[in-house]
């Protein structure tokens, strides 16, 4: 379908994206499970199709794939819970060790900078930073642990909702599409079908692109970290790739994590940490210029400048959630906005709708006119 939207439509698209971000920020408890459910839905959709192809009823196929996924999650939770409980203490020690390793690296870097630049030594940069870091890490657990546990407990029921939502999407998704299409006047019917198809295509391409991007990032980072000799490169690569779902902030956290591990595993060799930073930056560049355009960028068909600007707008309107949600929301708003723009500005479709309404009114009043 030809798409030549004017500036008014584009202003509407960007304004509605911002409004949706603002509203979604207020109801994150529903938006996050919904988003996770969509990811699970697009992940399980091929398996459900295959079962339907083999003669299973759609409801049965959805029950098998959805139920199988929930069962898998329960088994994983049952297996992981005792393991997590038994390793919690050693993890606490490890975390302390990694933070200490990071502090040591920072201290060494500051000492090096002070030795190079006299004005930094006069400002006691190294001592000030060390003191602030020590006070932050000492009180970090007391200040944030209780909040973290309460937040996790509050979010757990909402997150458990995601697999159930995914199951209903799989089972009744097509009925929902027909239900919406039935409510549309005849004049706009074909355009609306096209719109819903494009929305589904955009969302599927985005989420499947996101999964592909995560796999590519994990492999690239794991190879890089393995080459420089860091421990657990695959796990680190995967954690960093998942953190990268949050633009900018996620990348910074991922880089920090890699540096902490490098600084702790090789306390006497600061070049290891610098090497890890170089690997991380190289993979991010590869991600931005090769992987992203091949996966998500291509799926959303957006101009790179608009993508970057909207990421900033998303962050300003709805914080971290806005950074995560802005691109898929903009993708959907683009399809809806452009199609509504086409329908509203098409005088022939409007005339056909008016004609149909007149016919229906005449039919309804046919026996009253005599």
């Amino acid at each position: 379908m030809n798409r030549q939207s004017g500036p008014v439509v584009w202003v509407g698209i960007i304004a509605s994206t911002c409004l949706l971000l603002f509203l979604f920020k207020k109801m994150l408890w529903l938006v996050v499970p919904f988003l996770l459910a969509l990811i699970i839905y697009y992940f399980l959709q091929p398996a459900t199709h295959r079962l339907v192809l083999h003669g299973f009823h759609r409801k049965t196929a959805a029950a098998i794939t959805g139920g199988g996924f929930i069962l898998l999650l329960l088994v994983c939770a049952a297996l992981l819970f005792p393991w997590i409980s038994s390793h919690a203490v050693s993890w606490q020690d490890s975390m302390g060790r990694y933070i200490e390793g990071g502090s040591r690296l920072l201290q060494k870097t500051m000492d090096g900078l002070e030795a190079q630049f006299a004005f930094l030594e006069r400002a006691s940069l190294s001592r000030n930073v060390s003191e602030q870091l020590a006070s932050f890490t000492e009180t970090f657990a007391q200040r944030h642990l209780a909040n973290f546990v309460v937040t996790l407990a509050a979010w757990l029921p909402a997150l458990l909702l995601a697999p159930f939502l995914a199951f209903f999407f799989l089972r009744d998704g097509r009925r929902f599409t027909k239900f919406i299409a039935n409510a549309v006047p005849n004049a706009f019917f074909e355009r609306t079908l096209y719109l819903m198809h494009e929305m589904d295509k955009t969302a599927r391409a985005y989420f499947q692109g996101l999964i592909s991007l995560t796999i590519l990032d994990t492999i690239a980072l794991a190879i890089g970290l393995w080459v420089i000799g860091l421990s657990a490169p695959l796990l680190l690569g995967m954690v960093c790739a998942v953190l990268a779902w949050v633009p900018y902030v996620g990348s910074i956290l991922g880089c920090l994590l890699v540096v902490l591990v490098a600084a702790t595993d090789f306390p006497l060799d600061p070049w290891m940490a610098y090497g890890a930073i170089i690997v991380f930056v190289l993979v991010r560049l590869l991600d931005d210029f090769v992987f992203m355009p091949l996966t998500i960028g291509r799926s959303l068909r957006m101009h790179p400048l608009l993508t970057v600007l909207m990421i900033f707008v998303g962050g300003a309107v709805a914080g971290v959630a806005g950074l995560m949600l802005v691109l898929p929301l903009l993708g959907v708003a683009m399809v809806v906005g452009e199609t509504i723009g086409m329908i509203v500005t098409d005088p022939r479709l409007q005339a056909r709708w008016a004609h149909a309404r007149r016919l229906r009114a005449e039919q309804a009043a046919a026996d009253l006119q005599a």
């Binding site: 379908m1 199709h49 339907v52 192809l53 003669g55 299973f56 009823h57 759609r58 049965t60 097509r174 027909k178 299409a181 039935n182 005849n186 004049a187 019917f189 074909e190 355009r191 079908l193 096209y194 198809h197 022939r348 056909r352 004609h355 149909a356 016919l359 229906r360 039919q363």
Partner: protein, 157 residues
């Protein structure tokens, strides 16, 4: 087996099998197709689609009559008058080309609509069903071609 769909013919499946496009499908295949079809009702004189419009779907007449004509020329530009069981707009299933003529309801009618993207999805997920429909569609287009060639005044005569 209870896990599998039941294959007996419901009135709806019988109605679908009576349509030439789906006459070769098994009850199970008909059920799959039924899940994809949209039901639309048009009043007498209502426009179904315009000539030149980008086609997105194929229409099958379940009841009533439909007029195919040149845009805005219901009498002078009359191309065909189609009744129950006939289909139209089939070229939309094959390509993005604009509609070759206008379709209007000659009387109140009920239509089943197969959206092109659903048909293309069927080609990927249910290739057997899609190929059966495609074969029927090819036969239908072939029949139309023969009718055109054999029509009085045709140059090939």
């Amino acid at each position: 087996m209870f896990l599998f769909s039941k294959d007996e013919d419901s009135p709806r499946l019988k109605q679908l099998r009576a349509l030439s496009l789906f006459s070769t499908l098994s009850p199970r295949e008909l059920k799959t197709v039924d899940g994809l079809l949209h039901e639309r009702n048009y009043l007498k004189d209502e426009v179904i689609f315009d000539q030149g419009e980008e086609g997105q779907a194929l229409y099958i007449i379940e009841s009533g009559k439909v007029l195919i004509c040149r845009q805005g020329q219901a009498v002078a530009g009359r191309v065909a008058e189609l009744g129950e069981g006939r289909l139209f707009g089939e070229l939309a299933l094959l390509d993005n080309s604009p509609r070759a003529a206008q379709a209007r309801a000659l009387e109140n009618c009920s239509l089943a609509v197969l959206f092109r993207a659903d048909f293309l999805g069927l080609l990927e997920t249910h290739a057997v069903i899609a190929s059966k429909i495609a074969l029927q569609l090819a036969r239908h287009i072939g029949q139309r071609l023969r009718e055109t060639v054999n029509a009085p005044g045709s140059q090939s005569e």
